[in-house]
């Protein structure tokens, strides 16, 4: 696989996707209007008991000091691919419980934490070009130079990135990660439709475009064939080995796991974009 050639081949598709994202962005806005409509029908229904002097009436409304613009927009991210998404949500769920979790558990049992942390650091270090480029694209020169310094220090003194030596200096602690999906978000693009990919998990149209663009800068995408699958799988299992149980926590807590993950993804990306 040669991602550069691949991306070039798919450029028209990417452009189409971008346009589509923008259009669905408008659709999402229309949804907001729809929502407010259904809102009024709710408040009109007669069997409702009006709440007397509720102090917290608007606790989560728009003017909450810590929640200001959070409300409306994100809750109406459109989901026209609902049936596909639910199916993929189940596929990923099985993939996790049948394959990833047992593998990660076994791996955690044999690989000491120090080694797993090293592997995690190594892959994080490899991702520097993506984060650096996106810092630049988002006009964050300080963050970009921080990424650059960390890369130099960790690739050398940190032995090819296995050790996060840089983080020993508080000024060089890892900043929040940037990617092209976030860059597009900073440019004002909305999520577009929500998409669940097999293996990769929750995403959106915007973030899918971002992911394919980022892969150009990801060294691991230049590995050939089955080795690439192996490397990516290893990276994934290693990452999961630190987080066994987290997925279950969210899933068990939800009355509607699909919606819970969808909402969590949208909220999480929104926070990342704001950083």
């Amino acid at each position: 696989m040669k991602p550069v050639r691949l991306v070039r081949a798919f450029m028209p598709l990417l452009i189409f996707l971008l346009v589509f994202v923008m259009m669905t962005g408008c659709a999402a806005r229309k949804n907001v209007a729809d929502n407010s409509l259904s809102d009024s029908t709710i408040s009109n229904s007669s069997d409702m008991v009006s709440e007397p002097e509720d102090d917290f009436e608007d606790e989560f409304a728009d003017d909450d000091p810590f929640d200001s613009e959070d409300e409306q927009a994100e809750e109406s991210t459109s989901d026209p691919l609902y049936y596909w998404n639910v199916a993929m949500h189940h596929v990923n769920d099985k993939l996790y419980f049948w394959i990833l979790k047992p593998t990660a558990k076994g791996y955690r049992a044999v690989a000491p934490e120090q080694m797993r942390t090293g592997v995690k650091n190594f892959f994080h270090n490899l991702g520097t070009p993506i984060r650096f480029a996106n810092c630049v694209l988002q006009g964050k020169p300080e963050k970009a130079s921080l990424e650059f310094c960390r890369f130099i220090v960790n690739s050398t003194a940190g032995v090819l990135g296995f050790m996060d030596i840089a983080a020993k200096n508080p000024d060089l602690a890892a900043p929040s990660s940037e990617d092209f999906g976030q860059t597009l978000g900073v440019y004002g693009l909305g999520n577009g439709v929500y998409i669940v990919w097999p293996v990769f998990g929750p995403s959106s149209l915007r973030d899918t475009v971002g992911m394919s663009a980022d892969s150009v800068l990801n060294p691991t995408s230049y590995i050939d064939g089955t080795t690439a699958v192996g490397v990516n799988a290893f990276e994934k299992v290693n990452a999961i080995s630190f987080r066994i149980g987290d997925y279950e926590s969210l899933k068990d807590a939800a009355i509607d796991p699909y919606e819970a993950f969808r909402d969590a993804y949208i909220q999480y990306r929104k926070k990342q974009i704001s950083e």
Partner: protein, 217 residues
Amino acid sequence: MKRSYNFTAIAIIFVFALTFAVPAISSATGDGPMSSLKKPVNELIDILKDPKYKDKSAKDAQSEKIWPLIKGIFDFTTISKGTLGKYRKKFDKARLATFTEEFTTLLGETYLKKIQGGYQNETVKYLTEKIKETKRGPRAQVKTMLVRGSIEIPVHYNMLKVDGNWRIYDVKVEGVSLVKNYRTQFQKFLMKKNPDQLIEKVKKKAESLKQSKTEKE
């Protein structure tokens, strides 16, 4: 690729978020929001580490110790109302009370059991506290970092004052709000079903969790 891992991260450790905030009984009036968190959190970690609760048969005694403390610092009334959002208006007083009760049980069932079984020597770093005056009284946001080995998870607590004590009305883990996450689920449910059905659903969910937990033991 990277993103999907981070997303697993979100895989919300409301568990810890919920349980690492426990009430300071002495937190009346004087204490600020952060110190009303600190004391009880330390207390909780002590209980979790206590070897006398290591045995499975002691878990019930342990939760009996933890649960009232949690109830003291979380404002479950406001949390429950928040999860209903605009649909709250469909609930009359009695239903709202029942819902609050059932939803509180569900949260307890999920998170308390989870943290009791899965404490991984997490520690908490306290970062900042911010207080704002609003039309509806003071609101605070306390930012903390949950540290699990080499992994750090940002956890933010939104708090308000109830009878002079700071209480939590929302928890954000990696930017994901607990209240909003449930609200999305509940709103979708309530678009087609009525409040009684939601109460029933929440109740059933809590019961099934309880069942599966006891079966495992």
